[in-house]
Subunit: 282 residues, 6 copies
């Protein structure tokens, strides 16, 4: 018998019931103020993941050894931010209630908020590990509280002081950097301080959010706001492997914009990062 | 003395006070459900307009003979649709109150709604001439009433049956085409029927809205939703010249997405259409 | 319950059992001598088809009214031409045995041969309608008998003189044009003569093969060998509607190369042609 | 024995001595004021010409039947306009002295002046047939007399009133159009009037210069200044075939800018035009 | 009241009178022998600078704290090199006479010569710090003395032996490298030796010229002549901060070619470098 | 007298008879399973090599000091893998018989097999140095023994255990990595171990094959299968200089795909690597 065409991220062949990790796309970029296109990331990553192998020589581990289900993309309403976040929250909530780890592919970084809202209902003691080029700590952006530029500030609204660990940050307003001194653990430019952060999070559930623009634009030009001076692929991979030892209860990778990735190399990097993330958490 | 760098659309050198037409950009595409990027149209058109001449051999008329002011782009909030429309409404309203013709560069087609809301406050008997590949007549799109796919339906909410004349339409849902039979004057595929429409509008103020995807994608590939089977440049130009004889009280050109215009030819077409529109209305 | 991500061409929601038409991709371009990339056509068309509506105002018909199953892409071996054709033949043969119409998305034009071999086993009196810019009538290409440049010659090997009707042809060697005078019904440049051809095929089963480069490169630049002087979208659509009245027992669309379609407009055209083809045959 | 890699335009296999037409490239675009890149046209056309066949079904003629030599590109100094023109003049002069027809691939349109200066030394009664979107009739451009925007005016300096026939013109300053009324035979927008022009030139040697932007940008987007409203490929081909009946003593094709031709379709058009031109003059 | 559209580099809001630094563009690339397009750098950088923040976490300094005026682009004549240089010289001279620091955005590297000629009239003891991949030390290029490949040699004509410090150089003719041994302080491949150079320049006015192709093409592919083996962004930033301690009396950044920067990442790097340069000198 | 246009890689001006190294292209990518286009590498590299200088400041050596002949591209049949390999074998065999070093520009990596087959006939004790991101050690790929994914396994068929030294490998199936433990000397991720490998090869003839995707995609995005985590340009250059001290009897560089190199920076890197390789071996 012949089945309808199924398309999943490479090696994500599990059924929902048996899966430990549930992958889904959140194709939304309505609040992106500069260059859009992250809405196409999840679709493109599924399609292009077949340029990868299922095996990681870094971890000596194969996608065949883990159980990941790929449920495709949510259908999100462009232009209605709160509704889109609610739909994301509902999806992530369902996954968490079924004792699985949600792994979301953004979309702009704001989508993280929807997933966080769901995860925090189960895990009040949640910590957040945040890799990014940008602070994302504005109170509002042109008057809007829900924005790609405010998402970590909104996360702080939910969990409070000292529980958010930020790495690789190299862009923001002075006020954001100053605000961070009191409220988050912000580490500029690199992963320096990651070991300490991991130690502090050891006994807590952790949400792990990766804005791929933490990578240097030489490695990852295909994003809305490329910021020179970022980390290398090997630095990011190494940092991810360290974080994965924690009790990850939710995670996401964001901000690939295939529209600006004419060579496809940024998409390939994003796929490889996602494979490694799934392999080390799964 | 040296002035700060001023950048206007070619030949739009008038001061606000003396201008008959006021040009401004509405860089907004938050509700675009497929391929975004129209937010960059106005900026790109200003910059690339210098590949044109100020003189039109079609009309034997020069930009130097008309008075157009270019006020630049509005700063619109991505992700808050109603607020963006309000800001557009306010700008267009100011222009109308000063007895000038607003000429807006979108952006997605929804921006037309903001301008229409302002114009209709002055002109209750308004008629609309609408060139487009798409019906834009949905009651809602994924639950949202404010969407690029609903903008002409929202216009109908404002002015009612029989006052909207649509041309070039070749894409939509069956329900939209059926609904149009009772409520608008929809002409499929071409400008057939334009003379009659013009006659019917002769004694009324007219808002003229051009979605540039009415053009065939061979002429205008750089748009979010290219629809084969459109009109040629000369057909569009000829139709614009006819409509310009009416009492135009507001107008716009929309849906250039420079992101998908790698050759720059679509931007050049958009600029030429805008030059001709300004010249024949101005 | 949550299903794995399914991705089909827009509106192709039928299960295999109930389907009248079976869509599948043949991602193969190993013999392409100039610019490759048609291997990505089927995948890209599925993904981008969601920029279309399911409704055709040309035919006043909706994809919801027909039954099409999309089985995804065959896994074909690059570099082994005969094996790839055998795999295509097997797939098309299965579909025909189940009394359904195979509709293949190429790939390079050679893939047609595999499908033809299957169809001709059931239909010895088969006729072929062939739309193309190129003759495809070489006896061999650099010594190879199985090539994109020989596919219609190989078709002639199977069905013989006077049964192949070629339209839109504007490129080839002089020898091919001369050979055609005796063996096929070759119409240069346009669809002139299509009515007569249809009349001649009226009482026969017909295989309908469309090389999309029959379109002018202004409409369809995203192909391996763009040939100026082709037909317009409306001419092609009109010709397809005429051919669809025949007893079509197999069909295909070929030669979209997304690699060269930076604006996406060629992919959009290919999708629209496929939608119209499915709607008029289904 | 093995020869160094030779690369010529397709089918241009003659040695210099036996050739009737001598092809050479003039890779120069230093005065281009808007978008550069035509310097790469000749190189790219040679390379991409192998996507064509040597046979023309339009003329039923093959490159094998004519004698064309391809001498490659001149090495021209960027930034020194007069020197570049002198080098072109010398090359064209040599070819003419050897009783062969120079066929130059530009470059920006100004390169025509160098060739013209050489040809006119032999043919004082020269006429010029000029296909273009732009008038190219300015007296100077930002003070410069040697510019892509002045080239036909400079040609007029050489041959005087009534001897230049311009077609397809749709862009320029009002002053240029007015000036043309007295000094050249300028035909706007199309090839209307070509038959009469040909009749007038029947008994004279003719220099034939084709700015490829005479084509509509849908057909030929890959040029520095795309001007909507141009002619189709078939219209241009047909016009070329007519002009070729005259006594052509020099010719050129200009203004392909491969930098803006991401799909390669413009290059393919330019190659096909050049093949047809060579075949009908050769 | 509504002002005409003003477009400046981000944070360059000062009026001319109050400014310490005057930014202007020199859109000229007529002598570029390989891939052109740097003429578009200044315009594109202004437009894309809004993807940046005004605040630098590297320097803990904000554009709001310094006074920069952006006067837009000079109108330079393509194809007349000396005239273009004269116009640049005049602009830079005016700025220097007003006791402000000219900061020029090229353009090809030759534009530096015009600015240097102006600066040296005020500062006879001038030193030059030069970051580049290329020596730029040819006596002439294809016979031309004014060329992108000769600019530093022409600078030497003006100031003589031992006063030019070159860093990052990794491409040139052997003769240039040999010549440099006697006449300039050329440092191959990196910034090694920068501290000593700074010490030597401590008591002199310094012109600081940055050819952005000193960066590795992984960081900065969007340039005419990408040369592998360059410095990283952080290395360049660090070197700029060091040089900024000197008495800078003129400066420029050159050789971004947006035409080859499809992802926009090179433009983003150029903008960030310019922001940091302005912040540390201002 | 005027010669037909000759186009060689920069500085490869020797006649065949006098040459020490013979350069030729193998434009073949029929077995490429993911993204094709390497067929265009040799042509593009020749054309773009003129953005380089002939002099290397790394080696203080100029192309003028060595004797390289460039014979152009072989005409290979797409779709018939064995025949293509036979043609390559024949060319490489001829060169070896004339006591010259073949230097092949791929194409996909499989082309190496043809050259190896020729070289090994002369040198039974051959060793292979292999730089790559991928193992290329599969026994077959979708049933095919001749594939880009099997090429080093086929090489092993020819020369047996312990004679192949692989570096930079970071992608493959687990089975390939395991198989390599017994049969080749595979070094993951970097050039660690290269000194030892060179010592082991000191007394043997060596074939040196470079898959350019050993480079990090930041440096070299223009390839079919970009694999993050690769080596830098300077690391590769340094490794090549070391290997060049061995007795190289054949060599190749592969896997540039110009189709995915929109900025041209990958092509520039490939050209520079080839220049350095020729200079250090020649």
């Amino acid at each position: 018998m012949w089945n309808k065409n199924i398309e999943t991220f490479i090696g994500c062949d599990a059924e929902y019931e048996e899966a430990d990790i549930v992958l889904f796309g959140a194709p939304f970029d309505s609040t992106t103020s500069y260059r859009p296109g992250t809405r196409f990331a999840s679709k493109t990553m599924r399609s292009e993941s077949f340029g990868l192998e299922t095996y990681s020589p870094y971890q000596d581990k194969d996608m065949g050894e883990i159980k990941v289900f790929d449920g495709g993309d949510l259908e999100l309403t462009f232009g209605n931010t709160r509704k889109a976040l609610d739909d994301i929250k509902e999806a992530a909530g369902t996954i968490r209630k079924d004792h699985k780890i949600p792994c979301m592919i953004g979309g702009e970084h704001l989508v993280t908020l929807g997933a966080l809202e769901a995860v925090i209902e189960q895990y009040h003691k949640l910590r957040i590990i945040h890799f990014d080029a940008h602070t994302d700590l504005r109170e509002d952006y042109l008057g809007e509280k829900l924005s790609h530029a405010t998402v970590i500030r909104r996360a702080w609204d939910l969990i409070g002081d000292g529980k958010i660990h930020q790495f690789g940050i190299r862009s923001g307003e002075r006020d954001e950097f100053n605000w961070a001194k009191k409220h988050t653990n912000l580490h500029k430019f690199s992963f320096e301080g990651l070991e300490e952060a991991i130690k502090e999070c050891e006994n807590y559930p952790v949400y792990f959010t990766i804005d791929l623009d933490v990578l240097d634009p030489s490695v990852f030009p295909g994003t809305g706001t490329p910021e020179a001076g970022g980390v290398t692929f090997m630095e990011l991979l190494s940092a991810i492997l360290k974080v994965s030892k924690l009790n990850i209860v939710g995670m996401d990778v964001n901000e690939l914009s295939p529209v600006y990735d004419h060579s496809g190399a940024s998409t390939a990097v994003a796929c490889k990062i996602l494979r490694e993330l799934l392999l080390c958490v799964g």
